[in-house]
C-alpha cells in the first residue's frame, strides 16, 4: 500500500503541469478541430456542422495540393541549405582565431532583426529597377540587364529560399556551436596521433558526436520553416499567380481575405498533423538508428 502511494507521488506531482500543458496546447487544437467541421461565417460564428465538407473542399482544391508540394520543397531546401552552411560556419567559429568574438556577433546579427523587416529590406533590394542587388550585379559586370527577381515564380522561389536560409543560420549556428564547444578534445588529439586527416576527423568524430545537436536543429528548423509566413508574405504574397504560395500563406489568404474560416481551420489542422507526423517519424527513425549504432559496440 505504502509502496503504491510512493509510486503515484511523482505522477501526482507532475499532474498540475501536465493539466496546464494539455489545457494550453490541447484546447486550441480541439477548438480548431471543432471549427473545421462546421460552417463558419466570416466573423467566426459557427453555424452548424456540415459533415466534413470543409475537408472535401480542401482536398478538392488544386491550390491546396500545389501549396502542399511547394511547402515540402520550401521546408526541405531551407532546412538542408541552412544545415549545410551552418555546420562549417559553426566549426570555424569554434576555432580560436583573432576577432572570433566579432565574427560571432556578425553571424548572430540577422537574428536580432524581425523576419518581417528582413523581408521588407530584401523586397527593396530585389526590386528590378531600383534594387540594390541588380545595381551591384550590373556594376560588377555580371549581368547587363536588370533581372526582375520576384516577377516569375521560379526566380521568386529561389530568392525566397535563400532569404529563408539566411535568417535561419544564426539559430542553427548557435545550436551547433553549443554542441561543438561541449565536445571532448581528447578524441581529436588521439585521432591526430593516429594520423587522421581533417576530413576523417570530421566524418568519424565530429559528425557522430554532433548527431543529437544536428537532429534537434533539423526538427526545430522544420517546425519553424514549415510554419513561416513573413518572408513569402512580404516579398510576394504567394504570387505571382499563386506560384510561391505555401500552405501557411494560402491559409492566411483564406482566413483573412476570403473569410473562409472553416476551410482555413481544416488546413490548419492538416498542417498540425503533418508536422506532428514528421516529428514522430523523425524521432522514431533517429532513436532506431541510435540503437543500431549502439548494438555492435556492446558485442565488443
Amino acid at each position: 500500500m505504502a509502496n503504491r502511494i510512493q509510486k503515484s507521488v511523482p505522477l501526482l506531482m507532475i499532474l498540475p503541469g501536465l493539466a496546464l500543458a494539455v489545457a494550453i496546447i490541447g484546447y486550441p487544437i480541439f477548438d480548431l478541430a471543432w471549427t473545421s467541421l462546421q460552417d463558419v461565417s466570416r466573423f467566426g460564428k459557427l453555424t452548424g456542422f456540415n459533415g466534413g465538407e470543409n475537408y472535401a473542399e480542401v482536398f478538392g482544391d488544386p491550390l491546396f495540393w500545389e501549396s502542399l508540394w511547394r511547402t515540402g520543397i520550401w521546408t526541405l531546401a531551407v532546412v538542408l541549405g541552412t544545415l549545410a552552411i551552418s555546420m562549417p560556419v559553426a566549426m570555424i567559429l569554434n576555432d580560436d582565431f583573432y576577432g572570433r568574438g566579432l565574427a560571432r556577433v556578425i553571424i548572430m546579427l540577422p537574428w536580432a532583426i524581425s523576419l518581417t523587416m528582413t523581408a521588407v529590406v530584401w523586397r527593396w533590394a530585389l526590386n528590378g529597377r531600383a534594387g540594390l542587388l541588380n545595381a551591384t550585379l550590373m556594376n560588377a559586370g555580371i549581368i547587363d540587364q536588370p533581372i526582375e527577381w520576384l516577377a516569375t515564380a521560379s526566380t521568386a522561389c529561389v530568392v525566397e529560399i535563400l532569404v529563408g536560409i539566411l535568417v535561419s543560420i544564426p539559430f542553427t549556428t548557435t545550436i551547433l556551436l553549443g554542441g561543438l564547444s561541449s565536445m571532448p578534445q581528447d578524441a581529436y588529439e588521439a585521432a591526430v596521433v593516429d594520423g587522421a586527416s581533417g576530413w576523417h576527423q570530421f566524418r568519424y568524430i565530429t559528425l557522430p558526436l554532433m548527431k543529437p545537436f544536428i537532429n534537434i536543429a533539423i526538427v526545430l528548423n522544420v517546425i519553424y520553416v514549415f510554419n513561416s509566413l513573413p518572408i513569402i508574405w512580404v516579398m510576394t504574397e504567394g504570387g505571382p499567380a499563386n506560384g510561391t504560395d505555401i500552405l501557411v500563406t494560402y491559409l492566411y489568404k483564406l482566413a483573412f481575405r476570403f473569410g473562409q474560416l472553416g476551410k482555413a481551420s481544416a488546413i490548419s489542422l492538416i498542417m498540425f498533423f503533418v508536422l506532428l507526423g514528421f516529428t514522430m517519424l523523425y524521432v522514431a527513425l533517429v532513436s532506431r538508428n541510435d540503437k543500431d549504432d549502439a548494438a555492435p559496440e556492446e558485442e565488443v
Binding site: S41, R42, F43, K45, A151, T236, P240, A241
Partner: protein, 407 residues
C-alpha cells in the same frame, strides 16, 4: 520612498474615479481607415469639435491601416468587441450586411440629410433596398500621361486604345523609357484589367450574373495588354510591379502613360513638382468608363450607442468638415455642396478625375468578392507571364468565378 500600499490605493481611487466619470457619458468607438498621415489628426479634430458641443458624448477614434482593417474588424466582431461605427471598403459591405453585423440606417437618415449626398455614391451602399451605410470617400480613376515624353516622341495623348497603342510605340523608342505602366502585382491588379475590360465594352458580370471574363470584350482587352508586354511597350515583367511601383516609375519620369487615382496628384506635387502631366479619360474602345470606388461609413448592429453615434455622423458631414477632408486627402466629394465648390469644378486635375463620374462603374456588391477578385488577379498574372493564353486563362477564370458564385 513611496509606500506600495498607498500607491495602489491611489491607483484604485483614480481608476474608480475614472470609471465613475466614464459612466456619465456615452462612448462612441469609431474605427477610422488610414488614408494618409492626415487622416488621424483630421478625425480627432472633428471629434474634439463635436465633444465641445456635446460634453456628454465621448468619441473614441482608432486609426487602422487599410491593409489590416478587414482582418481587424473581423477579429473584433468575432471577439464581440466591435466598434460602434467604422469606415470600411464598400466591397465588404455585403458580407457585413448579410451576416447581420451592419445596422440599416434608413430610420436615422432624415430626407434633408439624405438630400445632401450625390446619388451615384449612395447607390453602392443600398443592399436589398435598405441603406446600410453612407459614402465617406470617393475616387474615380483616370489616365495620366507624361507630356514631356509625349512631346519628345512626337505623340499626341490618346483618346482610343488604338491611339494609345500607336503613341506607345513611339514613346517606347525613347531611351530608358517605358511607354505604358502596367500593374501586375498585389492589390488592384484586377482593377488595372477592369479599366480595359469596361472600355472595351465588357463587364465584370454579365446581365445573367455569370462572369464576364469569357466574353469577347474581355479577350480583346487581355490580348491587347499581352501584346503590349510582348512588344516591349510596357515596363518589363509587370508581375513584379505593384500599383505603387508603377506610380513611382511615373514620378521618376520614366513612364509615358499610367492609369491612376486622384490621390497621386498631391504625391506628384510634393515629390516630382517639375513633372508635366495631364489627366485624361481612359482610352475608349466601344465604351466610356471609369472605376468609381467608394468607402462606406457603417454602423454596427451590436452598438449600444447608436443615437450618439448618429449625432456624431451628422456633425461630421457638415460642409466645412467634408471640404477639409476631401481637400486634405485628395478625394472626390460625396456631398453636393462640396462638389459645387470652385476647387472641385475648376481645378483641371480634380475635374479630370470627376469628369468620369457620370459613367463610372463600381465593383459589384456580391458575396465572396475578394475571392473572385483574387481569381482575376491570378489569371491576369498567368496571362502576363505567358503561362496561359488569354483565351484559355479567361475561360478557366470565368468557370472558377461562376463556381464561387454557385452558378
Amino acid at each position: 520612498m513611496t509606500h506600495p500600499f498607498r500607491t495602489s490605493t491611489a491607483i484604485l481611487a483614480l481608476s474608480l474615479g475614472m470609471a465613475g466619470l466614464a459612466s456619465a457619458e456615452t462612448v462612441v468607438d469609431f474605427t477610422v481607415a488610414e488614408y494618409s498621415s492626415k487622416t488621424g489628426p483630421y478625425f480627432q479634430e472633428v471629434a474634439d469639435a463635436f465633444q465641445a458641443e456635446n460634453p456628454d458624448i465621448k468619441i473614441n477614434i482608432e486609426v487602422v491601416p487599410w491593409d489590416t482593417l478587414l482582418q481587424r474588424l473581423t477579429t473584433d466582431v468575432a471577439g464581440g468587441s466591435a466598434p460602434d461605427i467604422s469606415i470600411i471598403g464598400t466591397r465588404w459591405l455585403l458580407d457585413f450586411a448579410s451576416q447581420g453585423v451592419a445596422e440599416p440606417i434608413d430610420s436615422y437618415l432624415t430626407p434633408e440629410f439624405k438630400g445632401t449626398f450625390i446619388d451615384t455614391f449612395m447607390a453602392p451602399g443600398v443592399i436589398d433596398g435598405k441603406i446600410m451605410g453612407l459614402p465617406v470617400a470617393a475616387s474615380a480613376r483616370a489616365m495620366m500621361v507624361n507630356m514631356d515624353l509625349y512631346d519628345k516622341a512626337g505623340a499626341t495623348p490618346p483618346k482610343t486604345w488604338d491611339e494609345l497603342y500607336e503613341a506607345s510605340k513611339k514613346i517606347a523608342t525613347l531611351p530608358e523609357t517605358f511607354a505604358f505602366g502596367l500593374q501586375g502585382k498585389e492589390i488592384e491588379t484586377d482593377a488595372y484589367f477592369y479599366y480595359a475590360l469596361w472600355t472595351h465594352g465588357g463587364d465584370i458580370l454579365k446581365a445573367d450574373g455569370t462572369s464576364g471574363l469569357d466574353s469577347p470584350e474581355a479577350l480583346e482587352a487581355a490580348t491587347l495588354y499581352k501584346k503590349m508586354i510582348d512588344e516591349g511597350l510596357t515596363q518589363p515583367s509587370p508581375t513584379n510591379y505593384t500599383r505603387e511601383d508603377v506610380f513611382n516609375l511615373f514620378k521618376q519620369g520614366k513612364v509615358g502613360t499610367i492609369f491612376t487615382f486622384p490621390m497621386l496628384i498631391p504625391q506628384i506635387k510634393a515629390e516630382a513638382p517639375d513633372l508635366k502631366y495631364q489627366i485624361l479619360p481612359f482610352p475608349e474602345g466601344k465604351a466610356k468608363a471609369t472605376y468609381g470606388v467608394t468607402d462606406t461609413l457603417m454602423m454596427f448592429a451590436d452598438s449600444d450607442a447608436k443615437e450618439a453615434a448618429w449625432k456624431f455622423i451628422e456633425f461630421a458631414y457638415k460642409d466645412e468638415w467634408r471640404e477639409k477632408f476631401d481637400m486634405g486627402e485628395g478625394f472626390l466629394p460625396v456631398t453636393k455642396n462640396v462638389a459645387a465648390l470652385p476647387h472641385f469644378t475648376e481645378d483641371p486635375d480634380v475635374a479630370g478625375f470627376a469628369a468620369g463620374l457620370p459613367y463610372a462603374k463600381f465593383a459589384p456588391t456580391i458575396a465572396n468578392w475578394e475571392e473572385i477578385a483574387d481569381v482575376t488577379v491570378r489569371t491576369m498574372q498567368q496571362i502576363y507571364l505567358g503561362e496561359v493564353t488569354p483565351e484559355e486563362g479567361l475561360k478557366a477564370a470565368a468557370g472558377e468565378i461562376n463556381k464561387i458564385r454557385g452558378l
